[in-house]
């Protein structure tokens, strides 16, 4: 059952088309990640769901109700901002209680009910010892938890998260990611998470929405998006290092560096395509060797190979080798539109 239904949503800022016709259904209890490069419209899309931005055209339904023209407070959503936006003049307790006090009029919360709810939420997020502190006395990780607690305390139908992990250092980020996912799963809340970090997206999302230039490029599980990109943008945006793209006469084709391996490592070379590969440089990255070089016939297009370090193949600089890619790992794209072409239809075209 979808809890958020977005239909042909558009937002233009003067001549800039920030969001340009988005259709999206978000399911109850899912963790949806909106992924895209900066300026792709993902934050604008989220702000429109929250009600902070008025759409130029299109509709948003939350819980079956059309909320397109409703202010944020009447939408039953809450949001964690990139900067956390904690109120600096209130202590942690009052920060978390702030949304409850707004609802007090309708829901008749008394002081004790508020205290109870705040303390329960704080306990779940393990910040119950910090309730008397001011935001500036907290570390980045603690601030993030307070922001999530403030967003969760009203039990919203949708939790919106705008790059909440980007202000944490790398070590803390992995930890926070893990906790966030656990927390979402145990509370069974619908979460929409905006990020430009593909590792975050792959690790957190039940489904990922890849956006570029205001449009949705592909929606799917992390695996389907990685293995089955709908177009060249999605193929190259995901994966590090990104997919190698080589030009042919009437199409382009690509393969991921980790699938581009010395021929001897392929147990079934008949199903593979063989390339003559000239090695220019080798980077040793611990678990992998990253090889920079050129494929014969494509000397202008730098091609990378990611060879696991535990594979005992010597790769010398300025050496020529035979590399191979399994046929199923080669993706074909239209020369002009960049859309994915199935191999069969390609065979017919030849």
């Amino acid at each position: 059952m979808s809890i958020v239904q977005i239909t042909s949503l558009k937002k233009y800022f003067d001549s800039v088309r920030a969001v340009d016709g988005v259709d999206l259904a978000i399911d109850q209890g899912e963790f949806l990640v909106i992924l895209g490069p900066s300026g792709c419209g993902k934050t604008t899309l989220m702000r429109m769901i929250a009600g902070l931005e008025k759409p130029t055209a299109g509709h948003i339904e939350i819980g079956g109700e059309d909320v397109t023209d409703l202010p944020p407070r009447k939408r039953g959503v809450s949001m964690v901002f990139q900067s956390y936006a904690l109120y600096p003049h209130m202590n942690v307790f009052n920060n978390i209680a702030f949304p409850l006090r707004a609802q007090r009029r309708e829901l008749k919360f008394d002081k004790r009910a508020i205290r109870e709810k705040v303390e329960n939420t704080a306990r779940v997020l393990e910040i119950d010892s910090l309730l008397d502190r001011r935001p500036r006395q907290l570390s980045g990780g603690q601030r993030q938890r307070v922001a999530i607690a403030r967003a969760m305390v009203t039990q919203p139908s949708v939790l919106l998260l705008d790059e909440p992990l980007s202000n944490l250092d790398a070590k803390l980020r992995a930890n926070a990611r893990d906790e966030l996912k656990d927390f979402q799963r145990s509370s069974n809340i619908t979460a929409v998470f905006v990020t430009h970090d593909q590792i975050e997206a792959m690790g957190l999302g039940d489904r990922i929405v890849v956006m570029s230039e205001g449009k949705i490029q592909q929606i799917g599980t992390p695996q389907s998006i990685y293995d089955d990109p709908a177009n060249e943008f999605v193929a190259t945006f995901l994966g590090s290092p990104s997919m190698n793209i080589l030009s042919a006469k009437r199409f382009r084709f690509g393969f991921r560096p980790e699938h581009f391996l010395p021929k001897t490592l392929h147990d079934n070379p008949e199903n593979s395509r063989i390339f003559h590969y000239y090695v220019k440089r080798v980077e040793y990255l611990g678990s992998d060797r990253l090889v920079y070089g050129y494929v014969q016939g494509h000397e202008r297009e730098l091609t990378l190979a990611k060879v696991p370090s535990n594979v005992r193949v010597s790769l010398d600089i300025e050496g020529d080798y035979e590399f191979a890619v399994h046929n199923r790992d080669i993706k074909y794209f239209d020369n002009i539109s960049g859309q994915r072409i199935e191999q069969q239809s390609l065979a017919q075209a030849f």
Partner: protein, 317 residues
Amino acid sequence: MSLLSWILQNFWALLVLLFLALVALRIAWRIHRFGATRAEFVYILRRSPFYLVVLTFCFFAAAPFLIMFMHTFKTDGDLYRRPQPFVFRQDPTLEHLDALFNNTAYLEFIRNSVVVGIAVVIITLALSLPAAYALARLTGRWGERAGILMFLVYLVPPTLLFIPMFRIVVLLGLKDDPMSLIVVYPSFTVPFSMWLLSGFFKAVPPELEEAALVDGYNRVEAFLRVVLPLSLPGIISTIVFTFTLTLHEFIYGLVFIADTSQRTLSVGVPTELILGDVYFWQPLLAAALIIAIPVGLAYNLFLDSLVQGFTMGAVKG
């Protein structure tokens, strides 16, 4: 009186003694805290020049007020016989203070000034808080232009405006009434406060307001509960500035009000205590000093937020 005159006659000696006592106390405290070691004395000696410089500056800053204070108690004979500000050659007298409070409407001037000041502060805040907020958030071409336009109003000098303003005051039937000043003063306090406040509002991240909107508040509530508390230093500086602006305004106060008992301090004191070319120096100085002290204290108390107000305006225009 004898104690006061003794204090006044030995004023400078007492001041030096007080200072020495403070220094001794400070040194004693340090020794008590850190022990009478050689290093401690070296430290004290090394710091002394710094305090000497500070003291010199303090003296220069305070000297006018000290001289005003002493002159208040001088007899005419002492004051006009070859000026000698630092010593009493005749016994100090309270007659000038007595004249100030009993022969002039000084207390009424104070009352009028305070009433006008407070009323103008309230009107100014009521008008400039929402206006400054709108200017701070209304970015883009029109917001900026509107801001500049409104600030231009502040630059039109009262010397140009007092005649047309006087017509309006008469038309409103407010001549000789401090009410006229309450009506007119916001014409220059509002643009100034708006400029000052919008700098503070701009410094509040819009995300905080958006968070409040998502948390279930409307825009007015978000402003009252989040933006306003965070702009408190700006509001305090606005109050202090507005109050002092009204306190030293002269030309409107002079033109609109002819009735002595209705005048404010800045007009009443010079018109009552300067007759032609006769200056009644002692009560003049006393009147100025009495009102300067609370204002000075207020400035000092809010010094940090005042400085912040100025620099913020300087950076953000």
